[in-house]
Amino acid sequence: MNTFGHLKFKKEDSFEEAIKKLESIVSLLDEGNLSLDETLSLYEEGIGLYRYCNDYLEKSEQKIQILMNGEEISFELSDAKIKGD
């Protein structure tokens, strides 16, 4: 799997990186020009990436922040006085 080492899932991968790797694996497998060993290990890698991404989506919590003096601090709508148009 040396040739596809860059598609291996790493712990520090972001969701975007993971999904990009998954996408590459899917298209590589879709072409179908690989050896059995390569196909098998890419498939396993792909399933691992899928599980990671799926978990990530389930667990993610939306952050709404406002930039105040160069810092990102949590923002609630009730913090601001809303004026209508």
Binding site: N54, L57, L67, A80
Partner: protein
């Protein structure tokens, strides 16, 4: 009555004072058509205003000229506000303009049209960056207390708990608004690598209230932004310069959020699509290999093997034939050698002399007798002939000189 003679300077100064003290000439509104427009390097503008019959020289100093939003041009009909004064050196009176407004349409409309034409010519409306389909973090440049942010937050919350929002608070109207918006865009580009999309937003308002979004400085920042920008300014019918330069114009802030924030279900569908494809590809691959294997087993392998076998047989045949030929030749060679040797041998065979009528004599012990001294009278000797032996007794012996002795002794 004595008439005082004046110098030119004195006259010009007198007229200057006279004109300056006139309340009407001190603040007048004058309309006309611009001609001979010239913007000097110092930043002051010089031109004439004319109508069908007459014209007047005009000056607009840098401080005032910088404040006009549109660009004055020859042939343009304008309404000006200013005062009449004289240029003492040349003895000319002229209009010192404080403000200009286009005659007919409003200043802002004209400025809008002019900037639109200018930026369009420069190509700022042509290139559009792709809005990422699956952003993680979206920056919203807007007022934190406006209606726009309220709409964007509520739409985002409804659609996805995955996408984060970063509000970049700015003034969205007033004199500093354009610069703040422009700086915000630049700042986000330079300092925030994790932003996928910028939304610049403002609720509805009059053209004056939305004006910041028509300023060139904002347009330039949008154009220079590496991060894709969605504009969402005012209501659906409001178009600003920012809208033209932005990578995408959303009709309202809510719409911007709907465009930028994909519903979480899209993410999941996308992911599940990958999962399905992964499995399909895998199954297809295995099936393909399986089929290949079956195909090889049944037909190819057999015919390949057969062919190989035949080939080897043929090769073996050929080798055998070669071997045979080689052996044959070797045997023939040996035979002819043998025959040759045999005839040589034949020539040397002592017995062959017998055939020619000679005979060989042996003593009783089988020793060859070739000299007369080897026998005595009365000895028994054997004589060998071609077809048998004669047993004889020596009755008489006589030594003779014979030339043959020379052969033996020599």
């Amino acid at each position: 009555m004595q008439i005082k003679t004046l110098t030119v300077s004195e006259l010009n100064r007198y007229i200057h004072r006279l004109i300056s003290s006139d309340p009407i000439l001190n603040s007048i509104y004058l309309k006309g058509e611009i001609s001979n427009f010239k913007l000097h390097g110092s930043g002051h503008a010089y031109f004439s205003l004319k109508d069908e019959a007459s014209k007047i020289n005009c000056v607009m100093f840098k401080d005032h000229y910088e404040k006009i939003k549109f660009e004055p041009k020859n042939g343009m009909h304008i309404i000006t506000n200013g005062y009449i004064s004289t240029y003492e050196r040349d003895g000319q009176y002229q209009l010192y303009i404080r403000e200009i407004e286009p005659d007919g349409i409003g200043t802002l409309h004209l400025a809008f049209e002019q900037l639109k034409i200018k930026l369009k010519k420069e190509g700022l409306f042509d290139f559009k960056k792709k809005i990422p389909s699956f952003p993680k973090k979206i920056a919203v440049v807007t007022s934190p207390s406006g209606a726009a942010i309220r709409d964007i937050i509520s739409v985002s919350k409804r659609r996805s708990h995955y996408v984060d929002l970063l509000i970049y608070p700015v003034l969205v109207q007033g004199e500093n608004a354009a610069l703040e918006i422009s700086n915000a865009i630049n700042h986000l580009n330079n300092e925030y690598a994790d932003i996928d999309i910028i939304i610049i937003a403002r609720g509805g308002g009059s053209i004056e209230e939305l004006w910041a979004f028509n300023e060139e400085v904002v347009a330039r920042s949008i154009w220079n932004s590496k991060i894709p920008i969605i504009s969402a300014i005012g209501h659906e019918t409001d178009y600003t310069i920012a809208d033209f330069v932005a990578d995408l114009r959303a009709p309202t802030p809510s719409a911007a959020a709907e465009i930028a924030v994909p519903p979480i279900s899209d993410f999941k569908n996308n992911l599940n699509g990958f999962y399905k494809k992964l499995n399909t590809s895998w199954n297809y691959y295995i099936q393909k290999k399986h089929n290949q294997l079956i195909g090889i087993n049944k037909h190819k392998l057999l015919s390949i093997t057969k062919h190989k076998l035949l080939e080897e047989t043929q090769r073996l045949d050929l080798l055998q034939r070669n071997l045979y030929d080689y052996a044959n030749k070797k045997i023939q060679n040996s035979q002819s050698q043998l025959v040759k040797n045999a005839s040589k041998l034949e020539a040397l065979n002592p017995f062959s002399t017998i055939l020619r009528g000679y005979s060989i004599t042996f003593d009783e012990n089988g020793n060859n007798i070739y000299k007369i001294d080897q026998v005595k009278k009365g000895d028994r000797i054997n004589i060998m002939l071609t077809d048998g032996h004669l047993n004889c007794t020596v009755t008489h012996k006589k030594k003779e000189d014979h030339s043959i002795e020379h052969f033996w002794t020599s």
